[in-house]
């Protein structure tokens, strides 16, 4: 029963979702099911919060290595929750100020790190150790110069456009077709209960 019941629910919901894609009359039920998903999601947030408290709380309680950071994580979470519950999330509230003055800059900092990682990754990728890497380097240089006005006299912007719109796009579409078929196949296997790795081997 532990295996059969989830498989049955999965099959019913999966087949319904496939059928509703072709039947307009089922759209209201589809929308209703999506609403239910929001409710499930809201409940799952509680599980997430419990996990964070359990993990970091245990670390603080047992004074494990770097427990101070765990304490900071719990304190930040509780502070945001209290700020939201007491004052709401409107403009000028503590919650909004914390969000704007702390969370956003920290997120922006993480995002900004990408520039440096991009530089180091490009350096590794463009080292001409093989024919493939050389082709990659030449294509990348053309595309990069093609973005600049200076390359116009040598028709480099046109070459860059051709690289992006022809060989690059062909490869992307080939991958997309494969991805689409893979998605459909995986969905079919899960709905029919053929793929059940997420439920273990299927032995009761």
């Amino acid at each position: 029963m532990r295996i059969q019941l989830p498989l049955l629910i999965c099959a019913i919901v999966g087949i319904f979702m496939a059928v509703q894609y072709f039947v307009p009359a089922l759209l209201p039920i589809y929308n209703r099911l999506n609403d239910y998903l929001q409710i499930v999601y809201a409940f799952s947030i509680v599980l997430g919060v419990a996990s964070v408290l359990h993990r970091h709380g245990g670390k603080v309680q047992k004074r494990r290595k770097d427990w101070v950071y765990s304490l900071a994580a719990i304190a930040a979470m509780v502070l945001m929750m209290l700020a939201g519950f007491i004052e709401g999330r409107g403009s000028g509230t503590l919650f909004q100020n914390l969000f704007n003055a702390v969370l956003l800059p920290v997120q922006a900092t993480m995002f900004a790190l990408l520039a440096f990682y991009l530089a180091s990754a490009s350096f590794r990728a463009f080292r001409t150790r093989s024919t493939d890497a050389t082709v990659l380097l030449v294509a990348a240089v053309i595309v990069m110069i093609g973005r600049l006005d200076d390359g116009r006299s040598l028709a480099i912007p046109d070459m860059a456009r051709w690289i992006l719109n022809t060989p690059n796009l062909v490869a992307k579409r080939a991958i997309l077709i494969g991805v689409g078929l893979g998605m459909a196949s995986t969905a079919l296997k899960v709905v029919l209960g053929i793929e059940r790795s997420y439920l273990g081997s299927g032995k009761e």
Binding site: V23, V179, T186, Y198
Partner: protein, 406 residues
């Protein structure tokens, strides 16, 4: 003074204030402006019978919004001839000569009637003719998805046929996928070094097929790790994916015969925020120094942050995603990259279960069908251009990808 003259005098004196005290504007009688006369109400096609499409042109006395009209107001009467209520207002100044509106959330098969009220600058209004009753009709098939239905049916039939063939013992050749072969090597390396394996199931929700594919791989990988009596760390971004990963790993450890080695704290929820999650996973990489990082699932801008940090701590890295824009980052920063559809094939490839391998073969054959169709389409288009068309137009039309929205 006679009482009737007194009353008349008072009423004349109060007349200027009458317009201030009466909230309702007066209907023009007789109308000095022609009313909206071409109100059209029709059923919205391809829906659940909950909407009507309404459109009308400006009043002939209101050319391009420069006339005396301030706004047009659409009124609706519901099933059973209920009172007319305003449902939508259109400003006369807005561009275009035709106004359109979709009246949503109606009841299928019930009658509705409409009319348009034209409001003038002097506060008066003129009503157009009533149109109706019109009933929204529930449709039972998206006719624009007929091609998709045929293709889907063909695909399902092919996959099921190949699964059956595989079960009957047919030999199936599956090409080697280096990235998937390397998973075993990576897990073994972690065990030898006494380090944990870090498994990141992507940042998407459970509704994403890439996440489901990742969970399937997690089941297989966790079983290997459990049988080696090693350790796995699974940080989660989505609160629904989190309990599922916990269950998958727990089950894998139980089936491998080492339930006591399962550590619930190693499969944990981090945060729902993309970059906070990336920061936390990078922190885990730096602190725990995993021997292998498996980044499998759906990734976005954080992919390079994770992969570069992983490379900097010296872990063997295997990444796989169906997000095309992130693939170059993984190819650059990781030892092995599982590209696109290989992610979906991974569970079958690692598990080597016959029926799953059969489905892979079915997928491959359907890809061959796609290739043939693409070649026919390219030829038809090319010949159509060269020979100016007509004989090949039917092929073009047949292969045209139709809009599936709706």
């Amino acid at each position: 003074m006679r009482p009737c003259r007194i009353a008349a005098t008072i009423s004349i004196a109060l007349l200027p204030f009458a317009s201030l005290t009466t909230p309702e504007a007066q209907e023009l009688n007789p109308p000095s402006l022609p009313p909206v006369s071409d109100l059209s109400v029709e059923d919205k096609p391809l829906d659940a019978g909950e909407a009507l499409k309404i459109s009308f042109s400006r009043s002939p006395g209101d050319p391009a919004g420069h006339g005396p009209v301030t706004r047009y107001e659409l009124f609706r009467s519901g099933p059973g001839g209920t009172e007319f209520v305003a449902v939508k207002s259109f400003q006369a100044q807005q561009a275009g000569n035709r106004f359109s509106y979709e009246d949503l959330n109606l009841r299928p098969g019930r009658d509705y009637a409409y009319f348009v009220r034209t409001h003038l600058q002097n506060g008066a209004y003129v009503d157009g003719a009533r149109v109706g009753p019109v009933a929204p009709i529930r449709q039972w098939f998206f006719t624009n998805k007929f091609n998709t239905l045929i293709t889907t049916a063909l695909f399902i039939a092919l996959v099921l046929f190949m699964i059956r063939a595989a079960k009957q013992g047919r030999e199936l050749f599956i090409r080697k996928i280096a990235g998937l072969d390397a998973i075993d090597e990576a897990v073994g390396r972690c065990t030898e070094m006494g380090k944990p394996t870090l498994y990141v199931p992507g940042i998407s929700t459970i509704a994403d097929v890439a996440t489901i594919a990742s969970l399937n791989i997690l089941g297989q990988v966790a079983k290997r790790i459990a049988s080696y009596q090693s350790r796995i760390l699974v940080p989660n971004r989505d609160p629904i994916v989190f309990p599922v990963t916990q269950d998958v790993v727990k089950l894998a450890f139980t089936e491998a015969g080492y339930p006591h080695n399962y550590r619930p704290d190693d499969i944990y929820f981090v945060t729902n925020d993309q970059f906070a999650y990336a920061a936390a996973v990078c922190g885990t990489m730096v602190r725990e120094r995993p021997g292998a990082n498996l980044l499998l699932g759906m990734f976005a801008a954080e992919s390079l942050v994770l992969a570069e940090t992983g490379a900097s701590v010296g872990a063997i890295q295997i990444a796989g995603t169906d997000a095309i824009s992130q693939l170059p980052f993984f190819v650059t920063a990781c030892d092995y990259t599982i590209i696109g559809e290989e992610l979906y094939a991974a569970s079958a490839y690692i598990g080597r279960e016959t029926s799953l391998l059969g489905s892979l073969k079915g997928q491959d054959y359907f890809k061959a069908v796609c290739i043939v169709l693409i070649v026919i389409g390219v030829l038809a288009m090319t010949l159509g251009v060269i020979l100016e068309g007509a004989p090949f137009n039917f092929v073009k039309e047949m292969l045209r990808v139709r809009s599936t929205g709706g």
